[in-house]
Assembly symmetry: C2
Homo-oligomer: 454 residues x 2
C-alpha cells in the first residue's frame, strides 16, 4: 500500500486536481477559506464553504454516511465531518491525515455546535492501523503512550498537555513582562561549578567517547541555575528573570526528577526581606493558579518544632540543623492544610555561600526559603543573597573560592544592593496544577538517568 | 572604606532610620510611592512625593546644589536629582547605588520633562571610582566593556542591548502566538548526531576531566537544532515553534560565530512550496523589521549564473554543485540591492537527508532555502522536509541511518503530511537590525572557542 502517503486521494464527484510532485503544488486555483478546527467552532462561518486539514481521530462508516472526527491540534475538540458513503476509501481511517472541503452547518446534535458536510476528502497521509501503536476508541495509559515519544502528541492526553504547557509558558512571560522584569538569556554552558560537582554534566568536544581537546580551555558544565548570571544583571536592572533549561545529573528515575528540566528564575534588587520576596512569588503564582492565597509562611525552626511534636515516625532525623527530607516536607504540607507552604530561615550551614547570613544567635540561620506544595514537595527555592562584601568574602574564603568568584565579589564592590530571588521548577509546577503523577508526562522529551530517546 | 556597601547613609535633616541587619529591615513605616525612572517621565506624578532606587550615572557637586543622574534600567534615560550641597557625602559618586526621596517637579530645562528635588538620599552601596573599570563621562568601546562581562550591563550601550533583546524575544513569542503556533520546548540534550559529528559538543557526567560512566547509557550531544523534534510535533499540530539555545563546536572566533546561540525555529504542516514557507517567514520578519518587503527570491541556479556572469574574482569556485561561501553570499546580497535575499532549490547533494527531493533533471535539487542578509550573510535556513516514506527511507539507507532514524520514518508512516520549516539565528538577527559588528556584543554571556567566562 505504501508509498501512498503523499498520494492525494480525491474522493468526490468533482474533477480530480493534479498534484505534480514538484516543489510548487496547489490543489486548485481558488481555495475556499482554510479554517482551524477551533475557529470552526466560533460559529461565524456557518453556511460557508471551508477547508479543514488535520488528522482523523475517529472513523465510523455507516450505510448511508461516513462520520469522521478531524483534529488539528488547535483544540481538544475535533470537528465532525459527514460524507456520503460513496466517498469511503481503504486509506481513510483512524490516524490518517486529511483535507476536507465542504459546507459548515449547524449540527442537529447537542454534542457539537457545528459539523462539516464534506464535498471532497483527500487522504494526505495514510496510517496503517496494525502498526500504529494507538488504537481507535482505546484509552491508553500515560505509561503506555510514553513509550512512543515521537507519536504521543497524537493522543488527546498529551496534546492537551502540550497546549497547556505552551500557554503556561506564555503566562510566565506575560506576568514578568507586565511587572517590569527584563528577560535575560542566561547561558547553558558555564564554567561555574559551585553547586556540588557530583550532580554536574560536563561538556566537551568529542567524537564517540574519546575526548581529544578542550574547546573552551577550561572545564565547562551545563548550568544548574541561572542565578549568579541573573545577579550580574540585577546590578543594573532591579527586576530580571530567565526561563530555560537547567540540568542535574542526579541518578534518579523518580517521578519528580529529570536530568533536563525548565526553570523560571527571578532576581529582585532593593529587596530586604523574605516576606517581600515571597510577595512577588505569590503574585506570580496567583497569576496562573490562585493557589497561594492563604497565610502559609513558617520558619524552619517552627517546622522542626512541628515535626518534633508530631506523633509521626520519620525515617530521617528531625533535629535542628538537619535537612528537611521528602517525608518531612509532605508532613508539613499536610499539617498546614494541604496548601503550598513557604519554609524560611534555614540553618546557615545548610545553605550555599550566596545565601544571606541572618547573623542571629544562638541558632544561626540564613535568609533562605523553600516553597513546598501538595503532591510534588519542593517546587521552588530562593533566598536573599549576601550583598555585604566583607561577609561574602569571608564565606568564600572558608570554601577556598575567593579567587574563582572574584567577579561575583566585584558585584558587591560596585553599587551593591540588597537583593534576592528564587527559582521554580516548571515541570513540577505543571505536575502540581494538573495533578500529573509522573514528571516525564509534562515535558515533550524527558531526559533522565539511562534514557535520552530521540 | 569597605565594608560600607550596605551602610545606609541618611543624608538629610530627618530622623535617621534604623536598619537592624536582620531579615526584616524597612526604611520607615510609611513609604512614599516607589517609582521606576521610566514611570517618573510619564509626568502624572508631578508634585508628588516619591522614591527612586537606582545607580548613579553622573554626579556633579556644585557650590549650592548636587546634581545626580539616577538610572534603574527601566529606560536609557536617567532621572536628574537635585539636592542641597549639604547632602553631599564621600560615598556618593559615579556607580554607587542610591535611594532618593523627594518631590517630583517639572524641570526648567528642556533636556528633561521632570526632575527630583531630593529630601533624602541614601547610599545603599558605594562604588570605588579607582577600581571600577568604567569612568564617569568616558565613552568606552564595545571591545573594552566586553572584557568585563559581569559589569557591562551597567553601561548605556549594553543595557540598551539587553532591553532590545528582551523586547525582541517577546516580539518573537507574540508573533508566533498570534499566528496560531504552539511553543514546544525541544530538548537541549539529544542522542541525535546527524549534522556532522565534528561540530558537536558531547555531554557526560564528569569530575574534572575524568569521565567515569555513561549517564544516559548512550552518547549524547548538545542540540544543533530542534527541527527533528519539532517535526515530531508537527504530526499533530500544524504550526509549532521553538526558541532556545543551540550549540556548534566550531573552532571560530569570528564576529559571526558563537558556540552557544539562540535559534528561532518553526515547522509548518500542510505546506507544499518554498514560496508558502517564505511567506510565513516574511510575515514573521516584517513583524519585527519590515526589512523583507521587496521581491527577493532567487534559485541557487540563478545565483550561480549571477556569480558566473559577474566580473568579481572569487577565492572559491562558483560551479553548479559548489556550496555558496561567505564571499558569494555577500556578492549576491549586494547584487540584489543590499536587501535580504532568499536563495532556493540547492543541489540535492549539498543538503541533509531530510530536505525534500525536487526530483528534477538534469540538475537535481532539493527544496531548501537560505536567507542572506546585508552585513551578516546567512541569517536563516530552511527546507521542505521529505515527507514521502519511500524516498526518505532510501536516502537514510544510503547514509546507513535507517535504523537510527526508524522513529523519524515512523512520522512518515502514520499520517504524514507535506511540511517544512526554518531556523533563524537570533543573535545574527539582532546584529542585522542593530548594525552591531560583533556577535559577542548582542548576547549576555558569549561562549566561543577558548572562552567561557562566568
Amino acid at each position: 500500500m505504501f508509498p501512498a502517503v503523499t498520494r492525494a486521494f480525491l474522493l468526490s464527484s468533482m474533477t480530480p486536481v493534479c498534484r505534480s510532485g514538484v516543489t510548487v503544488r496547489r490543489y486548485c486555483m481558488k481555495n475556499p477559506t482554510k479554517l482551524r478546527v477551533s475557529e470552526a467552532f466560533l460559529d461565524a462561518q456557518v453556511g460557508e464553504k471551508v477547508r479543514i486539514q488535520g488528522w482523523v481521530r475517529s472513523f465510523r462508516p455507516q450505510k448511508q454516511n461516513l462520520f469522521l472526527h478531524v483534529n488539528d491540534g488547535s483544540s481538544l475538540k475535533s470537528l465532525q465531518v459527514i460524507a456520503p458513503a460513496a466517498m469511503n476509501d481503504p486509506l481513510l481511517g483512524f490516524g490518517c491525515a486529511v483535507e476536507v472541503r465542504g459546507i459548515l452547518k449547524k449540527s442537529p446534535h447537542s454534542k457539537q455546535p457545528v459539523e462539516l458536510e464534506a464535498e471532497q476528502i483527500w487522504v494526505i497521509g495514510e496510517c496503517n492501523p496494525v502498526d500504529f501503536p494507538f488504537k481507535i476508541k482505546e484509552r491508553h495509559s500515560l505509561e503506555y503512550i510514553r513509550q512512543f515519544l515521537h507519536l504521543r502528541c497524537r493522543t488527546n492526553a498529551f496534546s492537551s498537555l502540550l497546549r497547556i504547557r505552551s500557554e503556561a509558558t506564555a503566562a510566565v512571560h506575560s506576568y514578568f513582562k507586565n511587572n517590569g522584569f527584563l528577560l535575560v538569556h542566561t547561558p547553558t554552558i558555564t564554567s561555574n561549578d559551585c553547586e556540588g560537582a557530583g550532580e554536574l554534566f560536563q561538556v566537551e568536544v568529542g567524537q564517540g567517547i574519546s575526548w581529544f581537546w578542550s574547546f573552551f580551555s577550561v572545564p565547562v558544565y551545563l548550568t544548574v541555575s541561572g542565578q549568579l548570571h541573573l545577579e550580574v544583571m540585577s546590578g543594573a536592572f532591579p527586576r530580571v528573570y530567565t526561563f530555560g533549561p537547567t540540568f542535574r545529573a542526579e541518578n534518579s528515575q523518580s517521578r519528580r526528577h529529570l536530568a533536563e528540566f525548565f526553570m523560571v528564575e527571578a532576581e529582585i534588587s532593593f529587596t530586604e526581606s523574605i516576606e517581600d520576596l515571597t510577595k512577588v512569588w505569590k503574585i506570580g503564582s496567583t497569576g496562573f493558579t490562585n493557589c497561594t492565597k492563604q497565610k502559609n509562611l513558617i520558619t524552619y525552626t517552627e517546622a522542626i518544632d512541628i515535626l518534633k511534636r508530631s506523633s509521626e515516625t520519620f525515617t530521617f532525623p528531625t533535629d535542628w540543623g538537619c535537612d528537611l527530607m521528602t517525608e518531612h516536607e509532605k508532613f508539613l504540607v499536610k499539617h498546614c492544610g494541604n496548601i503550598p507552604v513557604f519554609v524560611t530561615d534555614y540553618p546557615h550551614d545548610l545553605k550555599p555561600f550566596y545565601a544571606r547570613d541572618n547573623q542571629d544567635h544562638p541558632k544561626h540561620t540564613a535568609a533562605a526559603v523553600d516553597l513546598l506544595v501538595p503532591g510534588v514537595g519542593e517546587l521552588s527555592g530562593g533566598s536573599l543573597r549576601e550583598e555585604r562584601l566583607d561577609l561574602l568574602r569571608s564565606r568564600l574564603g572558608e570554601c577556598g573560592l575567593e579567587d574563582t568568584y572574584s567577579w561575583y565579589l566585584d558585584l558587591r564592590r560596585f553599587g551593591s544592593v540588597p537583593h534576592g530571588g528564587f527559582g521554580l521548577g516548571f515541570e513540577r509546577y505543571l505536575q502540581c496544577i494538573l495533578g500529573v503523577d509522573n514528571i516525564k508526562d509534562v515535558i515533550p522529551f524527558p531526559r533522565f538517568s539511562h534514557s535520552c530517546l530521540l
